[in-house]
Symmetry: C2
Subunit: 501 residues, 2 copies
């Protein structure tokens, strides 16, 4: 009894998690009941005989949760049945020419060679990803048809009936899955990406409060709820296989809603990979919140302003992306939040250079610097992600926003991102925004500050003082010329960003 | 033509990657040819009729790469066919009692309800993991049997024939997969884990050279080869789904080699998860090698000794685990390399406290501290991993080493790891080994140094000076009492460790 109640509870949870699962179960029931009645009714049965059961089998095996998966399996099955049926008839014909003693041996050899070859082909990564099921059905149909032991005209009849019943079952599945509450894998992938942006944005926007405000153990429930909310990002860490499966299914789907047939699903995976990298940093940051709890607040507060702004502005940038993904509009061509977070990086670097932390214990320093380095990574990743989303938006031909959002500076044309660097997915380079205003200090630090054309600002630390000077000037030029389109200088830009919020 | 050559090349690559794939293809061919000949020969065919094809189908669908997967699918299929056959006959009987007009309606309702319920159950995570295929076959068989439209005695015959052919096919698969060059998922999981330890160990042992020695661009090929070798660890990052699948299959496998039926496969996943966490840190470390290239060697060299030792000793510890896994012996109960890496941590902390880095630029500091913090994390993880492997070894009843390895200090009984902390998998806590020798300095740093019973040493930084004093003494006692079993003090221990290598 307890067991039954537990199962019911589990069922309710599974259904609540995604109510479309319940609908899917009903759809499968419907399709199967439909095809079964075909099978049951005498006239149809007379026509197809036992072969009618292939329709039932096809429905059971082909009907998947999303339209894309169903279509993919259906097409795989139909094509494989057709091709293998043809080859099987050929093999049967060839074997029957050779006389009754040799025939079974020849047939066994055919089946052996075909099965061995096809099984091996299933290990090819590209075949495995999209055609695995088709090859399986190919092996099956070939074996069934070629060794069926019937006379040849019966075989043709068998192959024909098998093919038509398979197609009958497959078409029922596809029609029901498309026209009765369809679940589009493409739409799912799109929503998944948007919600992933949302959860990361939530963490980054809350990070400042979590890190810089002493927790009062007043309402434990409240605190726990907040932590649970913060740690929703953990779902992003393991989203890879889910995203890949959805993208694979989505490729089979016809045009639906705003998704064309050749929607750039691959680009979704690229954005997803960057987002996951960011989630790894956030995971590290999250555990650092706890260990940094040991650092006296006085020390942490010294860096509060830039750190708070770095995380909250990155968060805002992600929030905007999430909103524009949901609306399927192009995100603002010039992302003010990215610029703001980068200018916060600059403030941080000035602060650090001023020696504000000189009296901090080395052990506390390690912990604090880890947090700082993670946030810098996140700022840089946010920029990469923003670029990647722009590529996605233009590849997917999202429409332009009808009314520009408040933070959209409109008139500024975004520079084309420089592709030559940062194309390694797994980079964890500690780059930091250089402070243009304090360029005179650079000599001291043996550093080279470069601002490249996609406002990615990196410090290369270098022992040679002469070269960076030159390099720097050129880069500063790039920077100011871009920023000055609307704002007179970086600090103005910064202030305007702060005021808005 | 070019296309064909490409396919052949791809095939050669796939076969070379794992030659067992070729063997598997032959095995499937063999099983199918065998079952097909059953099907072809008249006497057998007369007995089973078209139902004989279920044997062929079963072989095609059930024969998987590993014994565990094949057994799992075979058992799923046989049990599901049996249960669904029984229920199907029941449903058919019930419907036939109700008269010819109501019968088809009732049958359709049965099929609908059964298919909808079972489809929904497939979403339950536990069902999905192990019984997904069984439920699928359940739906299929029930639909086929209940609506077959035969008379009742024919149905019984149908169900009986279907079951016996399915079992015939299944048994052929299982026998061939067990007795012809078997591929055990359990063995694969075991080897995967050992080789993952190996690749991480390789990186950690090479890290010092890579980080502290200026690269000479002499032989580019040589450098590239070294880098490729170093970056083998990347395969560990995404090993999760592979490990989980193997563990799932392994649960089905009977005793083989040194693996019992109830081998603790779950513990393999736990060790694998810790190892993956370590791999994430190594990934970050690897990209830091490049960015830290900008830091003047003079500064890096200041920390060379402890950093080198931390990474190489962690690497050696993993190497030992890898070796003992391969031999299936218990790893040394007292891991000297873990202790060595921790004492290197202590040296590092002394060094940092001495203010050796006071004149380092903040930007370089961030970068350097990130490396330091990652290495500390790795040292701590190495210890956790070592514990986890010990749990695995005792749960799996690995045999004791016959001759103790040189680094095994034998007489020292390992303390039971303290379970109360560190059980959160996703921790990225920056803890650092406290320097017992400089305990007088602790007041200055507002820190508390604690050495817990599993020689995990953590600094809790605290504003209150009075409590840590007391705590510390107790812990130091624990530490020295353990170490003094063979060595007089920590530095002796350290030296002996260095001499050996």
């Amino acid at each position: 009894m307890e067991k039954v109640r537990e199962i019911v509870r589990e069922g309710r949870r599974v259904g609540k998690e995604d109510p479309r699962r319940v609908v899917h179960a009903f759809k499968v029931g419907l399709a199967l009941a439909l095809v079964s009645s075909f099978y049951y009714y005498q006239p149809l049965y007379d026509n197809f005989g036992v072969n009618a059961m292939w329709a039932v089998m096809t429905v059971v095996v082909v009907f998947e949760f999303s339209v894309g998966a169903t279509l993919g399996k259906g097409i795989n099955r139909a094509v494989a049945t057709l091709v293998a049926g043809g080859l099987g008839i050929g093999a049967h014909h060839l074997a029957s020419l050779s006389g009754t003693t040799v025939e079974p041996i020849l047939l066994a050899i055919f089946v052996f060679v075909q099965a061995a070859l096809s099984t091996f082909v299933r290990f090819f990564p590209r075949v495995k990803a999209r055609y695995d099921y088709g090859v399986l059905i190919f092996i099956l149909t070939f074996a069934l048809i070629s060794v069926s032991g019937f006379r040849e005209d019966e075989i043709l009849d068998l192959a024909h009936k098998r093919l038509s019943t398979v197609i009958m079952g497959g078409v029922s599945c596809v029609l029901i899955s498309i026209f009765v509450c369809p679940v589009w894998a493409g739409q799912d992938l799109h929503s998944l990406l948007a919600s992933n942006f949302d959860t990361l944005a939530h963490f980054l926007q809350e990070f400042g409060d979590e890190y810089f405000e002493a927790t009062e153990d007043g309402d434990i429930k409240e605190v726990e709820k907040r932590r649970r909310n913060l740690e929703r990002y953990k779902s992003v860490l393991n989203s890879k296989s889910n995203e890949e499966a959805l993208a694979n299914f989505a490729k089979w789907e016809p045009r639906h809603g705003q998704f064309r047939f050749r929607h750039p699903w691959k680009q979704y995976l690229a954005v997803g990979a960057l987002l996951r990298q960011c989630a790894y940093r956030i995971d590290a940051l999250n555990s650092n919140i706890n260990s940094d709890m040991q650092i006296p607040m006085v020390i942490k507060k010294k860096l509060e302003e830039p750190l708070r702004r770095m995380s909250s502005e990155s968060g805002k940038s992600m929030k905007e992306v999430s909103i524009s993904l949901k609306k399927m509009t192009k995100p603002s061509s010039f992302d003010i939040h990215v610029v703001n977070s980068q200018s916060a990086c600059k403030t941080l670097s000035t602060l650090l250079k001023s020696g504000i932390l000189n009296d901090v214990e080395p052990l506390q320093m390690i912990s604090l610097m880890t947090t700082v380095s993670l946030l810098i990574d996140i700022v840089n990743l946010t920029e990469k992600i923003s670029e990647s989303v722009h590529e996605l938006a233009s590849a997917a031909k999202f429409k332009n926003k009808t009314k520009p959002s408040k933070s959209d500076s409109g008139s500024i044309v975004r520079a084309k991102p420089n592709k030559s660097h940062d194309d390694d997915d797994d980079d964890h380079v500690v780059t930091i925004l250089g402070d243009v205003g304090t360029s005179n200090n650079v000599d001291q630090s043996h550093g080279e500050i470069s601002v490249d054309s996609c406002h990615h600002v990196a410090i290369k630390i270098d022992d040679d003082d002469s070269i960076p000077e030159k390099h720097e000037d050129g880069d500063i030029h790039v920077h100011t010329s871009r920023v000055s389109c609307e704002h007179t200088n970086a600090s103005d830009l910064l202030n305007s960003g702060v005021k808005k919020n």
